[in-house]
């Protein structure tokens, strides 16, 4: 008996018992922290008051408010293009010319036609004078024969003949006058034709409608262009803006005049100030985006059309609002709310949210200041799930 008692509490047995206890402790620790028995780790945060400055984000491209395409009004071959991309032009400046082909010859023809018309008019005028003179002579003869007939020196037949001559001369005078008038009208017609050809020649010179910059030169001399095809594109560099596309679901609070930050793709870290200049009435029905034109304020020196730009619009915020982190917002049975740890178990509490920024959401109703909500969880939470506060990621 003595021997057994001694052997039972010897060093080896002590070590054995200690080893077993360490193993058992480690085993249960492992099961409780990593195994199926472990409660779900969560991180909580308090409901606090904060100022919320919500923003809406959209992407767009730098575009000109008005873009001008300059092209011919009828088909033709380009003769000369005087300006190139990037050139500054004045309003009315000749930018390009279309080959007139036979227009000059047609103008010459019109000119000589007009001169001929004038000469024809002069000839007609001379004929009028001649007819006038004949008429006067015939009337003088008639008067003379009438006197002689009354004194019975000549026969009645002679007087009738003079009468006919006078009437014929008057008719000839009327015809000559009508001819002269027609010749004058012919002058007008020939002049108008000449002017029309001049106008056509003018339209072959493509003029700049604005003071601006050439953004594209789309055709070179020798190219045949059709009516309406752009030869040059112009833009007014003082009126460039970002045509941004904003998700319709977030576009509700956007108003003209709101401030915005514009980040160009070429300088993503630098925010340029801007403001909402126009909200287009026509939205994109396919992509479900509203189109918001954001003007630069002030306009930077160098802008490139078509460059991608990220726009953040600053919406009116709320001050001193009750807020929770946005990551805490949960959805259960189509109701928004938050998860809370109540006595070590997860409970869902319906909450109505208001203004949301990227990080925080305004609590309209359902939570009081200082309450704690679960922000992060290691698993999808369910009602009644055991939870324990722990740090989920290394900070």
């Amino acid at each position: 008996m003595e021997h057994r008692a001694v052997s039972f509490i010897n060093r080896r047995n002590l070590l054995l018992v200690a080893g077993f206890m360490v193993f058992a402790a480690a085993f249960f620790w492992l099961l409780a922290t990593r195994g199926p028995l472990a409660p779900v780790g969560v991180e909580q945060a308090a409901v606090t008051r904060a100022d919320l400055h919500p923003g809406v984000y959209g992407i767009g491209t730098v575009e000109a408010q008005h873009a001008y395409s300059v092209g011919p009004i009828q088909a033709g071959r380009l003769l000369r293009v005087m300006v190139d991309q990037g050139d500054r032009v004045e309003a009315g400046q000749v930018l390009a010319e279309i080959d007139p082909v036979d227009l000059r010859q047609r103008a010459d023809a019109a000119m000589s036609a007009a001169a001929r018309a004038r000469q024809a008019a002069a000839a007609a005028q001379a004929q009028v004078a001649e007819a006038d003179s004949r008429t006067r002579l015939a009337q003088a003869n008639l008067a003379r024969y009438e006197v002689l007939y009354r004194q019975n020196f000549v026969a009645k037949e002679m007087v009738d003949s003079r009468l006919h001559e006078a009437a014929a001369a008057e008719a000839a005078l009327a015809a000559a006058r009508a001819n002269a008038a027609a010749a004058l009208r012919e002058i007008g017609r020939a002049d108008a034709e000449r002017q029309g050809i001049d106008q056509l020649r003018n339209s072959l010179r493509l003029l700049s409608p604005i003071k601006g910059v050439v953004t594209a030169r789309e055709a070179e001399p020798g190219t045949t262009v059709v009516a309406g095809q752009a030869v040059l594109r112009l833009a007014d560099p003082a009126h460039l803006w970002v045509r941004a596309r904003v998700d319709q679901a977030r576009a509700q609070a956007i108003r003209v005049g709101q401030a915005a930050d514009i980040a160009m793709r070429s300088a993503p870290g630098k925010a340029l100030p801007g403001k909402v200049a126009r909200i287009e009435l026509q939205s994109d029905a396919v992509t479900e985006e509203r189109i918001v034109d954001v003007a630069f304020d002030p306009i930077p020196d160098r802008l490139y059309l078509g460059e991608l730009a990220e726009v953040t619009l600053h919406l009116p915020g709320t001050r001193n609002a009750l807020t929770v982190p946005r990551a805490a917002i949960g959805l259960r049975n189509d109701r928004t709310g938050v998860w809370q740890a109540v006595d070590g178990r997860a409970r869902f509490k319906p909450v109505q949210f208001g203004v949301q920024t990227a990080d925080r959401a305004q609590v309209v109703s359902g939570l009081a200041e200082g309450e704690h909500v679960i922000v992060y969880s290691a698993r999808q939470l369910d009602d009644g799930m055991r939870v324990r506060e722990q740090q989920l990621t290394a900070r």
């Binding site: 085993f27 199926p36 045949t224 990220e310 946005r326 990551a327 049975n333 990227a358 969880s377 999808q380």
Partner: protein, 397 residues
Amino acid sequence: MINLARRDIAHHLKSYLLTGLGLGLLIGVTLTMAGVYRGMVDDAKVLLRAVDADVWVVQQDTLGPFAEPSSVPDDLYRALLGLPGVAQAGNVAYLTMQVSHAGQSQRVMVAGFEPGKPGGPAFLVAGRPIARAHYEAVADAKTGLRVGDVVRIRRNDYTVVGLTRRMVSSNGDPMLFIPLKDAQEAQFLKDNDAIVEDRQRLAANPAINRPGQPGVLDAVQAIQASSHKVNAVLLRLQPGVDARAVADTIARWQRFTAYTRDDMEEILVAKLIATAAKQIGLFLVILAVVSAAIVAFIIYTMTLGKIKEIAVLKLIGTRNRTIAAMIVQEALGLGVIGFFVGKFAATLWAPAFPKYVLLETGDAGRAFVLTLVVCALASVLAIRAALRIDPAEAIGG
């Protein structure tokens, strides 16, 4: 009555414990293999659980979007929302690709979803949800990314704003959630060289680039560069609505294929990972059989190694029942030590695996029972051998 087993174990304590440890590691490997199998099946289902959609609408006659490619118009959801019983509809796009961060690229499944609609991450472990309509991402923690990291997908940089956990594709690739429009672009947008070459090809095509019709080429190019396709539309139904009926209606009248959650699970588990799962499953069976055999042999040889002692016991008149009890107790003891060491080891090293290892409590229970049964059976063999020992061997030899 003294306990022979305890005395014997105390006598050979070190070798007994080491044998138990060895057995334990073997059982641990078997448990891990079971965990790998379970993890594989769970990987296939985890996305379904996370997006929590009742009906998946995909391209007609495909097993999309995971088992086969599927492409549906992105305005289809409007028609689906009009169906009775549909509460929510969300477009999703999935693409498996390499993304690079800090010079290292890794394989992820990029998931495009619309915030507030089905298809997004169900919970976060850090950061915040996606707030902007573009260029933000929520990553699975397994990607190794941290909040604030910037990853490049195709031509755009995405900022990781949040982290989630256990969001993997059926292949076990961690997921990266980005806004749907970005995912559509990443999926269908060609690289810049291809775009330029395509433009030139189109410009060289006289049917498209006709003289006298300068607008046609631009229009064709614009069509080629834009995409309004998604991989699937996820529907959540109002409570009490039969998903099967809604899916049948969609298949019949909308001419798209619609799967209920059960169908989808069937596709993912039975079709997508079927071969791989069978491979692992068969290996698991073989491993279990081999482990059982090794356990049996160890106990048998351990008993045979004590022939002389048993002969002495018999010589001094120990009853057969006492000897049998000793062998059974030692065998079961080995089994218990082995199981706990194995479970300990498996739990310890499971998180280190690159793919998810799911150690189910049910599996552990079955393994425990199986271990004890195998130990008991093996000890029966050993007892038969022990009882045949001639007491005379104690004196001879």
